[in-house]
Amino acid sequence: MLELKNLSFSVVERDEDHHEQQLDIIKDMSYTFKKGKFYAITGPNGSGKTTLSKLIMGINKQTSGGVYFEGNDITHLSITERAKAGIAYSFQHPARFKGITFRDLLAIASKTDDEEKLLKIVRRVGICPLSFLDKPVDSTLSGGEIKKIELATTIARNPKLAIYDEPDTGIDLWTITPMVALLKREQVENKTTTIVVSHNRSFLEAADEILIFNHGEIIYEGDLKKALPILADFRICNFKPCPEGEKDAQCFR
């Protein structure tokens, strides 16, 4: 239902001496996501997980290659057009507004301001209490609250494809299990193709397919069992000691 064909994304960076250097964030990636399946994308920081998610939503523009959604070429479609085609995106760091409430966002997402319909969505997402609806989506919200709102506005779209970028950021431990259950329920009941970018084991366990990213490439696709040794390997790599005088920030990641 979603096909990536030789997709690449590069940026040009300048080093200390103002020499331009091309950084390849996503490298010639080809992959097909199947309808109604639950995918978890994981991998070390800087491996291109968020960048790929944003390429699918149209937030980042690819350097080369194409994106096909339900057989249609959406490579050059805008964010709005992709949203209307049925793709929804849950941001890792959701925007905070001034003077805009949860109700306003939900009304835009669900294309209705009918009180009953909005409450139905709030109940479906399991946000309590219902008075939450009139909370302003501003800097007064906690990290967990804003992530719940982000999730609700994504689900309210009734998307064919839902992308969640680290949905568990700022969420307390005991909320993760119900959150995973909610995304699973949306997948099963509404046949929502689901892509979750996460490091959290609960999401990896819930997934039908695990994709491990490294340096802008998919280095593994398959079940969790075979993924675990690779992920364990990353842990070792990520904690390698950085020698004194090391300048490369990559070492400290």
Binding site: F97, G99, I100, I108, K111, R157
Partner: protein, 306 residues
Amino acid sequence: MLNALDKELLKTIAELDKLPQGAYHIRKNGKTLSRATTANINIETNEKENGITVTIAPGTVNESVHIPVILNQGGLNDVVYNTFIVGEDANVTIIAGCGIQCAGPESQGHEGIHEFHIKRGARVKYIEKHYAGGYGSGKRTMNPTTKVFLEENAQVEMELTQLGGVDEANRVNEAVLGPGSSLLVTERVMTDGDQKAASHNKIILEGDDSRSNMVSRSVIKGKSRQDFYASMVAKARSFGHIECDAIIMDNGTNETIPSLRAEHPDAELSHEASIGKIAGDQLMKLMSMGATYEEAVNTIIQGFLR
């Protein structure tokens, strides 16, 4: 007595479809058009005959006063001095506003000087909207001044809005707060084209435990310019906060200067100020929910000015 244009202006500035319930005073082109008083609210022309005095009896609750001003006479600069005396423990809403309809090349202006004396324990909500329209080339100016004196435990909430179409505005707000009193001011100004608006605010926290919050929201379109100055002076154990945000949409200019002055060791004063474009993450979020770029911008601006 009210023609179609008058009615449209009244609807814009005071959300009135017809003559309001309760006390009101409608001023058109510098003269009284219509007025009504109630048992608790008296409205009379002041001694100098350059405005009105509104007297609200102590203990008056759930009543409102409408005092809109409409102007459609070219070349007229209407200056009016209005005084409001709100009795002890009253709880009322005052709705003011000025609408200018400019059809010709001559300039039109309105300067409304509003002085409020809020007696002990009284609560007032003051709503003021300014709007100018019409296809004439004359300059439309509005220079509103509000002076508020709050006695012990009085509470005032002010919503001051300039909706658009005003070429030049010089806005002045001054307040002196007595013990235990509180003042919340929210000012919203939108300018476009070559319009200019300046807002000067001075809030003096004179009594112990007085509190004030001044919020300013500016939207600057076209090549317009807005300047916002707010100073809060604490002379007692008190709390004050200034929050001013400006969104620049095209090639406008904005200067924002919040200033705080504490003359008492137990004063708590703070401010936050920001000027910037519409945030990219807000646009992305709304567009990812199916809104077009234009719809997203509108939603953000409407929320910001709400």
